[in-house]
């Protein structure tokens, strides 16, 4: 009997277990015949059987407290994710609404400035500059106010430290 036969038998035993052989009938028959004549492979099969039974019997189990803590953590995280999703939905709806309003009001203002320019018989470049200034004005005003506030705060803090 050559070494390949032993190797083949041991692999068949190891991969499928000695009691739960593969579906391949010819391999099973060959293995059964081999085991009848080979004491070392028979011993290997017995050891593998013991090992597998031993592995299945190792008493490792999750504790009840671990399971309930995990369930609680998962529920809490699910709630957080739900809230995050709701917030994201709210923010995206608000952004869409603001963008739509800005678009509509820009069109309406453009038409308004065009109408006023025509009424006052102004050149189109003039009412267009007026439209630009009108659009930029709120941002400019806010910028100036913020700068003034910063300067005021800096002066105020400086009077305490100085």
């Amino acid at each position: 009997m050559n070494a390949d036969a032993h190797e083949r038998a041991r692999k068949l035993i190891a991969l499928d277990g000695p009691e739960d052989l593969s579906d391949d009938q010819s391999s099973n028959a060959w293995l059964a015949a081999h085991l009848k004549t080979c004491a070392s492979c028979r011993a290997f099969a017995e050891n593998v059987g013991e090992t597998i039974r031993g592995l299945r019997a190792i008493p490792i189990a999750a504790e009840r407290s671990l399971v309930s803590t995990t369930q609680m953590r998962v529920r809490r995280r699910a709630l957080e994710l739900q809230r995050q999703r709701e917030r994201r939905w709210l923010v995206s709806v608000s952004c869409t609404a603001v963008a739509l309003c800005a678009l509509l009001s820009t069109v309406a203002l453009w038409r308004g400035f065009e109408w006023l320019g025509a009424r006052a018989q102004l050149a189109s470049s003039i009412w267009q500059v007026g439209f630009l200034v009108f659009c930029v004005m709120p941002a400019l005003l806010v910028g100036i106010l913020l700068l003034a506030k910063d300067k005021h705060l800096a002066d105020h803090t400086g009077s305490y430290t100085g």
């Binding site: 991969l15 050891n47 190792i58 008493p59 529920r75 995280r77």
Partner: protein, 197 residues
């Protein structure tokens, strides 16, 4: 394929589809049931990979949080258990990488950690004691095996996974899985015989 195989395969596929749908909805009731169902199997697997109860408990919780967050990635063509073990395995590898740049191969080889087998209570009968001793020998043998052999043995003989499923969890070719199982069992032989004790 016979009628029984077909019945089991179609009911498993249906179950996977339901799980996938529930995970996409992040249904907490479904997750509760899954945690209950897979508690011991997942914990045993994590214990086998880490060898430390506290770490296995932390990773157990992290695995389920990851399942909740990435549930939409679960493909219902596969069994949920296979995906769950793959998620857990990735978390273990991430944890080990944070500690030191290493793969699963480096797990438990430092000799510090132990494959912790808890006491089973008051075993008084001779057979129970004998069996417990035998299990302890095997558990002791397991801690001397490289982590990838331990993983293959646990998935094959404790979890009853097919060789293909193990290959999918461990992301290695089928041939590698076969050789890990064979070498793992061969390496455990001395502990079963009691020669190495």
């Amino acid at each position: 394929m016979n009628a029984t195989d077909f019945y089991f395969e179609s009911s498993m596929a249906q179950e996977s589809t339901e799980i996938a749908r529930g995970l996409r909805r992040r249904d907490p009731d479904l997750l509760d049931r899954l945690i209950e169902r897979y508690q011991h199997r997942l914990f045993r697997y994590l214990m086998c990979l880490t060898g430390r109860r506290e770490l296995a408990e932390d990773l157990f919780q992290e695995t389920w949080i990851r399942v909740l967050e990435r549930g939409h990635q679960f493909n219902d063509k596969y069994a949920f258990g296979t995906w769950l073990f793959a998620v857990a395995r990735n978390l273990v590898i991430d944890h080990m990488r944070r500690k030191q740049p290493a793969s699963l191969d480096g797990l438990l080889n430092d000799g510090e950690a132990a494959f912790d087998v808890p006491a089973t209570g008051q075993a008084s009968a001779f057979d129970t004691t004998l069996q417990r001793e035998q299990n302890e020998h095997i558990a002791a043998g397991m801690q001397h095996l490289p982590a990838e052999y331990r993983e293959a043995l646990v998935l094959r003989f404790q979890e009853g996974m097919s060789l293909e499923e193990i290959a999918s969890v461990a992301r290695v070719p089928l041939g590698t899985v076969k050789s890990r199982i064979y070498r793992g069992l061969s390496a455990l032989e001395p502990w079963v015989k009691g020669a190495a004790l």
